[in-house]
């Protein structure tokens, strides 16, 4: 191992390693325990203890890495992996301010989600396995964040996909969960293949996988425009798949089939964050391709508005949150498209914390009311579960962009970044999206928690403390973390400048006031529609019934995909299967077997079983060969 660096860097590579080791320990001990105890529940707590210890250690080491980055500015460290001819491929990690921020987010959210899961998953059949995959998932995501070369990153990227597949399909006995896991895996796989092709293109052009070397070569013009543009576009498609951008968003709402804490993890810290992080990480070469940046921005904008509108009509609480996640990811992509890495990463963190909070809150609600997810069957829950209600309100208000909660600051920063890029049309549409996102947040917070309690919910109660303590921690952070955007002290110049020294902290009062007005207007509108019912939701629907129906059916995109699969993919598959059966199987494989059999029928009479027949044949053959040789020699 080469090392030109400090303690913090070594701490950094240990962080994912611990979780990976935790995964192995849990899996192996599960196996061994299985031999000695038929009733594994006695040892059940072992798994969460191992995985939580690992992630807690990761979280503590994160502070070490953070200190190191603050003092020395990070760096990279690597060791040899493969040497193929002249090409050297290394394992390595790279730490800078962006990756250290992500490190903090992932370890922190994973820690809280795992603690919460002890309560949520209590008594589950595969309790230990759940924590094992959690550890694997965290390890994969942390590796992805730290990887300093694209091949290593891709390796982690696939492991993240595997982790999400296992977690979404955790209750695989349920058919819908198995289907959802498959859908998530296959949908993101399309992006993954594109990403791999993009990486290989870059490797072919530069001869290295190392990210910073690729940046240097690209910046000095060492890659032709065509290759650069196509590889960046392919990498972006990979990010679109993982970050559920339109048109790859279909897997994320279905991912709700997994346990709710899994949704919290996938939506907040791991998986979907990977795509945004990848684009942020590759920003120096994205900036070399303005056309691709435009595509990033447009895809982000479409996703933002489009998912926001769907979040507004869904009646399943987890689906509302899922579409809200897609929408916010769109917003981050949009911001990355304008070059605002700092703002996008900040929103990623703020959104991650708030969305983890909302999902864990939703899980807490579902836990107490028999896994009911339809918001119209809930109501007045704030009397029954006050802590969940208050924390849920804080999370929702933060995402709706109410000052002084974190979401307000991050959204403001995003809008500012779009404004500075001079995209006024995009800014106007984004403001519409801001209104939408505040409105659906109002809806999902007001309908279940306020109003009158339906009869069947009167037995509901607050969840156990192991579940609400993480909620409170997340709520406090969700309220407070926004102040990081401000220049708090002489050494901390505000988030934007901290991430990118060329930026400076600034305010645009009119934009800020506009976004507050929009958020408040949305809240008041939501209030009057969903609580006071002074504005009838029915009338609004009747205003454009077919449009409403379109949104309710998710713009028919799932149906379109289903149609394509049924009519094109399956039809082609049937054709191939027919070819296989008729030509390959019947003619080629069975045909050759039959021809051998037929010829054997004819020739087996040669086998007399008498020794002298064989001897004579051998003799005659030898004589024949001798004569042939003699003739040929002359």
């Amino acid at each position: 191992m080469e090392s030109n660096n400090t303690l913090g860097l070594h701490a950094a590579w240990i962080i994912p390693s611990i979780s990976a080791v935790a995964f192995l320990i849990i899996v192996v001990s599960m196996r061994i325990a299985g031999y000695f105890y038929s009733d594994r529940t006695k040892l059940a707590l072992l798994a969460p203890i191992v995985s939580i210890t690992a992630i807690l250690a990761g979280f503590i080491l994160f502070w070490l890495v953070l200190l190191d980055v603050l003092n020395f500015g990070g760096g990279s460290i690597s060791m040899n992996w493969l040497v193929v001819g002249l090409t050297e491929i290394r394992w390595g990690i790279f730490v800078d301010k962006v990756s250290v921020a992500m490190l903090g987010l992932v370890t922190f959210i994973s820690l809280l989600v795992q603690v919460y899961s002890i309560g949520y998953m209590k008594g589950d059949k595969h309790f230990e396995w759940y924590f094992a995959i959690h550890a694997l998932f965290a390890a994969a995501m942390l590796t992805l964040i730290l990887a300093d070369n694209l091949l290593f990153l891709y390796f982690a990227w696939e492991l993240v996909g595997l982790g999400s597949y296992l977690l979404i399909g955790f209750w695989w006995e349920k058919r819908s969960a198995a289907e959802a896991a498959k859908k998530a895996f296959i949908t993101t796989r399309i992006g993954d293949v594109c990403l791999l092709i993009g990486i290989i293109l870059l490797f072919k052009a530069t001869g290295t996988f190392n990210i910073s070397t690729i940046f240097h070569i690209a910046e000095s013009g060492g890659i032709s425009d065509a290759i650069l543009n196509s590889s960046i576009l392919l990498i972006f498609i990979g990010a679109m798949g993982k970050s559920a951008q339109f048109p790859f968003h279909v897997w994320l709402p279905d991912a709700m089939e997994g346990p709710t804490p899994v949704s919290a993890l996938i939506h907040a810290a791991t998986m979907v964050a990977a795509g945004v992080y990848l684009v942020a990480r590759m920003m120096p070469i994205f900036e070399l391709a303005p056309e691709i940046m435009l595509i990033v921005m447009i895809i982000g904008l479409i996703t933002f508005i489009f998912a926001g509108s769907m979040a507004l009509v869904m009646s399943d609480i987890k689906r509302v949150l899922a579409y809200s996640t897609i929408s916010h990811l769109g917003l981050m992509m949009l911001c990355l498209g304008t070059g605002g890495v700092a703002a996008a990463i900040f929103h990623l963190i703020v959104h991650g914390i708030a969305k983890a909070l909302l999902f864990l809150g939703a899980g807490s609600v579902m836990h107490s009311i028999d896994n009911e997810t339809n918001i119209w069957k809930m109501g007045g829950l704030r009397h029954r579960m006050p802590i969940t209600a208050i924390t849920f309100f804080i999370g929702a208000a933060s995402l709706a962009g109410l000052p002084p909660l974190a979401g307000f600051f991050s959204k403001d920063e995003l809008l500012l970044s779009i404004l500075h890029d001079g995209q006024y049309v995009v800014l106007a549409i984004t403001l519409l999206g801001v209104f939408l996102s505040a409105l659906y947040m109002a809806r999902v917070a007001i309908v279940p928690f306020l109003g009158s309690t339906p009869k069947h919910l009167e037995q509901s109660h607050e969840s156990s403390s192991i579940m609400w303590v993480p909620l409170v921690i997340l709520a406090i952070l969700s309220a407070g973390i926004g102040f990081l955007i401000l220049p708090l002290s002489s050494t901390y110049p505000g988030w934007a400048e901290f991430i990118d020294p060329s930026h400076h902290f600034e305010l645009e009062p009119w934009l800020m006031i506009l976004s507050i007005i929009l958020a408040l207007a949305a809240l008041i509108f939501g209030w009057s529609v969903y609580l006071r019912k002074s504005v009838s939701a029915k009338q609004i629907i009747e205003f454009a019934p077919s449009f409403y129906k379109t949104i309710l059916n998710k713009y028919y995109i799932d149906d379109l995909y289903q149609w394509i699969i049924d009519k094109c993919v399956l039809a082609f598959g049937n054709l191939v299967a027919l070819f296989d059966r008729v030509v390959i199987n019947d003619k080629a494989v069975d045909g050759s077997a039959i021809s051998v059999y037929m010829s054997a029928l004819k020739t087996r009479v040669l086998q007399t079983g008498y020794l002298f027949t064989y001897g004579a044949a051998m003799m005659l053959g030898a004589c024949g060969l001798a004569i042939l040789w003699w003739i040929l020699l002359d």
Binding site: R604, V605, Q607, T608, G609, Y610, L611, F612, G615, A616, M619
Partner: protein
């Protein structure tokens, strides 16, 4: 005066007798003995050539070396074949090769 032809005739006769034994005899032991005859016919042929060929000392020695190989292999083969015949006798109470036709179609 003995010449190469004498060796060849002797060798050819021995080989023919051996061949006849292998093809015509039904007793497995006799078949084996006939095979030994054929091998020794080859040995005599080799010896004849190594003596009468116009070749250097080392090339002549090659004939002798080959014979030693043939003898060795014949011994090894015989040990194996006798063992097989013994097992056959135990199982079938016969060493008539016509009775050993279970592998036939």
């Amino acid at each position: 005066m003995i010449e190469l032809t004498h060796f060849q005739v002797l060798s050819g006769l021995l080989f023919a007798i051996g061949l006849y034994g292998v093809l015509a005899r039904r007793n497995a032991i006799l078949v084996l003995m006939s095979i030994e005859l054929m091998l020794n016919a080859v040995n005599i042929n080799l010896i004849g050539y190594s003596i009468f060929m116009n070749a250097s000392e080392s090339h002549r020695a090659l004939g002798h070396v080959l014979i030693i190989f043939v003898i060795t292999i014949a011994a090894a083969e015989l040990a194996l074949a006798i063992a097989i015949i013994l097992r056959l006798y135990r199982n079938k109470s016969s060493i008539n090769t016509d009775d050993i036709n279970i592998m036939r179609w």
